[in-house]
């Protein structure tokens, strides 16, 4: 057979290989000469292999991961509250928020009826929750501290200079952003002097550059000024390329900073800002954000003739003057040393203290969610419940700022990271369906059967779970606190 004839024959076999299965292609070519048959066999094989590869690729591609939180009051933080709504997440991103959504059958579901849904909280400072940098290489994703933080509602934290998520049980999707801040150390008068000198140098250089550009535009022959001996961090700061974090607390230093910022035109994040309320106006005008702990209060120096001291109103006053506020506890650790200790175990309560100081509830909530995210520059991923953002959320039985509120579920990247009912820590406290699912609770019940105690009934157990929660606020808390205290006494 001539080569001309062979080509179409081969082509047709090729097409058949695609359309039909391998044996039929062979059957058709069986009439041809053995040489051609061989060629076609190879073609067919290739086709088959290609098909197999395609199939393998399809198999390798993981099926979509759906996660649905159904029937809760969804506090989106940025877009109001969706009452009795449903949040649907696909592959770790929020797909839809609304009512009567079509939920795929394979979706993992949380029934949040009667519960509240919030975005996962952001802890701007943390110690030993996720590992040191790089967190994806050092984190124990089954650690007790991780579970503790999740039980508080924290889903994103900062370790070193990296924002990382509390991805329980997986290393996937842990890092949100690296190189968050450039830190500038300004302690003592000489440091401030140096700081200003450096800024002045940069400004002088900028003037030279401007002059050079003007001269060049005029057509003069001038040499381009060289950028030598300039502090790279400050250059970037003035250009707004990096976020600089200043750890400053005193009025004097804050005022110095605000002044420098106004003069040289920069902004940044102030960590601490304990006496910020005194210079709130200046800081606000300069566009600073503040990371602070509302509970850190101290009477000011009375001999000083200008206002000073650390006040619980700090957060509220700063916010009122345009300073974006993020709240952190005084301690970056997490532990069980006291239920209302000043550590990450009580992050929402820390924000509640800001409410006590006059901050609105909404802003207090923002201070541990979206404001924190904005300061970290990760507001496109976390901090609020919006479509296309990460599905990092918590489901609670009440106002997240209330001390009695418990987190029932924490979801990170559309994966269940904490289910209270399945953890030994808090599963026995106010279980959702009245029956603790975890065995520890059963053990406790067994023990109580063996050693029946009358005090157990008196203390705590009979408290109305709804009582005081709706009122919230200072008074409600006080009452509840006293109630708890009495219960505790009775028990002991």
């Amino acid at each position: 057979m001539s080569s001309l004839l062979r080509i179409p024959a081969l082509l047709s076999a090729f097409v058949l290989g695609i359309l039909l299965s391998m044996p039929s292609a062979l059957a058709w070519t069986a009439q041809e000469s053995p040489k051609e048959e061989e060629g076609k066999k190879e073609e067919g094989k290739k086709e088959e292999e290609a098909e197999k590869e395609e199939e393998a690729e399809k198999e390798e591609k993981e099926p979509d991961r759906w996660f649905a939180v159904i029937g809760g009051d969804i506090h989106t933080v940025t877009q109001g509250v969706v009452r009795g709504g449903t949040l649907l997440a696909k592959n770790g991103k929020i797909e839809r928020i609304g009512h009567d959504l079509d939920i795929p059958d394979e979706a993992e579901r949380i029934d949040a009826t009667g519960l509240r849904v919030y975005p996962g909280l952001i802890a701007m400072n943390s110690r030993s929750i996720v590992g040191s940098e790089p967190p994806e290489d050092n984190t124990d994703v089954f650690a007790l501290n991780l579970t503790l933080a999740l039980s508080t509602g924290i889903t994103t934290t900062v370790t070193g200079n990296t924002a990382a998520k509390l991805t329980y049980g997986t290393l996937e999707g842990m890092v949100v952003k690296r190189s968050l801040f450039s830190s500038v150390n300004l302690r003592g008068a000489s440091a401030w002097r140096k700081f200003r000198e450096e800024l002045e140098k940069i400004r002088a250089h900028d003037r030279k550059v401007r002059d050079f550009q003007l001269a060049k535009a005029r057509g003069d022959k001038v040499e381009e000024p060289k950028a030598q001996g300039l502090n790279a961090t400050y250059v970037k700061m003035l250009k707004g390329e990096v976020t600089v974090r200043f750890s400053i607390n005193s009025v004097r230093d804050l005022r110095r900073l605000a002044k420098a910022a106004r003069e040289y035109g920069f902004s940044g994040v102030i960590s601490g800002a304990q006496e910020g309320w005194v210079v709130a106006d200046e800081l606000g005008r300069a566009g600073f954000s503040a990371i602070l702990s509302p509970r850190t209060t101290r009477t000011g120096n009375r001999s000083s003739n200008h206002p000073n001291g650390r006040r619980i109103e700090n957060a509220a006053i700063l916010h009122d003057h345009g300073v974006s506020v993020a709240v952190v506890p005084a301690s970056a650790g997490i532990s069980l040393n006291g239920l209302v200790g000043s550590d990450l175990f009580t992050l929402p309560i820390e924000a509640a203290y800001a409410v006590r100081g006059g901050l609105s509830r909404q802003v207090a909530l923002e201070s541990i969610t979206i404001n924190a995210a904005r300061i970290l520059g990760i507001q496109d991923h976390v901090g609020s419940l919006e479509v296309a953002k990460d599905a990092d959320l918590i489901v609670t039985d009440g106002d997240i700022l209330h001390y009695r509120t418990l987190v029932y579920y924490s979801v990170v990247n559309g994966r269940m990271a904490y289910d209270k009912a399945n953890e030994s820590l808090l599963s026995h406290i106010r279980p959702l369906d009245g029956e603790p699912r975890y065995k520890v609770a059963e053990l406790i019940e067994e023990l109580e059967e063996i050693h029946p105690s009358d005090e157990g009934e008196e203390g705590g157990e009979e408290e109305d779970p709804e009582g005081g929660k709706e009122e919230g606020g200072e008074e409600g808390k006080k009452e509840e606190g006293e109630g708890e205290g009495e219960g505790g006494d009775g028990r002991s």
Partner: protein, 461 residues
Amino acid sequence: MRRIIPLAIPLLLSLATPSWGVDDDVDQYVAIHVGKLIVGNGEERKDVTVLILDGKIEAVGKDVDLPHPCREIDARGWTAMPGLIHPSSRRGLLGINRGGTAAHRTISEEFLPAEGAYDGAVEAGFTTMVLSPPSGNGFPGRAMTIRTKDLGAGLIIEPESWVRMSLDSSSRYGSAKGALRKGFTDAKKEIEKVEKARKEWEEKKKKAEEEAKKKAEAEKKKGGEPEKKTPQAPPKPGMAEEGGEKKKEDKPKEPEVFKAPPMNPALVPLVKMIQGEDDIFGVLSIGGASAYLHMRDALRDIDVPYVLMKGGGQRRFGGSSDDLFFVADKMGERKETILLPPSISNYPYSINKVNPPQKFMDAGCSVGFFPSGADDNTLEGFRFQTAELLKAGTEREDAIKAMTLNVATALGLGDRLGSIEKGKDANLVLLNGDVFDVQAEVQQVVLEGEVVYDRDDEEED
């Protein structure tokens, strides 16, 4: 150090001469009649004869024709099980610190066992032991497989067996992970280096060949009949070169064979692991669930054969507990092989008990057991420790397999150890009761056809 090396060398050399079996009478048949045979693969048979020749099992069955002459051991009242294997111990080793990537280092440099160092192991039924490098980040070296015989030439089965790797650290995974990554990345670089050199060499060769061809053709055109003319032609420059080519072809060995640039010896075992040569594999001691995830992350792009071994890294909260079984499903998906002590542990942060080996079995992993230590008491208690798992729901069949054949298979010794089957090494432990019976004692231990332990003898002494 100075004292060890000269001693180690003869031990290594002993490998060259396979000297197993009984000293003089090589062709001696041994027949052991046992009341109950625990084969090791899950099967159990009654009233069976095991025929042994030259250290190997020749036949197993009810009616085995006994050849003549044949030494018979009557163990009709006893139970026989395969000799146990300890997959990782440091018994009889000196202890030398090793750091970083040193995958080529062998045990022989610290192998200086005292007389009777392994007697206790034999008494407990262990006929094979793997001596392993000390744990630590990176690649501290290769293990060595030995028989628990008396000291002598025939002690070593494999002087260089698996490569030790680990990811134990419970607080900082980064450094261990980095060491793992670095070792294999460097090994890959070595491979690339060789590949590059080979390519260059091939191109060079191709060029040379083409040039030679061109020249030959040019000669052809020039001379018309070069084949005849060439030898007669007067020496021209072209001619001389062609002659040179011919010379090369005449003794091609030197330039034709590709000489690979030397590799870093510390990385050679890793290179072989990547390339799948010599059946080298790693034994990766793994601390816990997070360690496993980090290990998988570190070896994401590296496909090397390895076996997992439960290592350090505990969670405390009312007793010891470990959380590796948290990722049992993920391990099962990958059909991992895991060696671990057969122990019940606490569910992390609680007093509830879990049976981790069962979790791995349920998930589809291949599970092998090893004693949590290598001292006499732990080795003797191994059977009873395993028995506790039966109480916690593990099937007898699975437990026995995990004690014997699975360990052998995991270590790549499945074709000669781990069960009492035809063609395998004749390693048998004879007990006067069931393997899980606390009162049953090891009566005799047969190591490659030779009775190396006899309780009667010991008691007479």
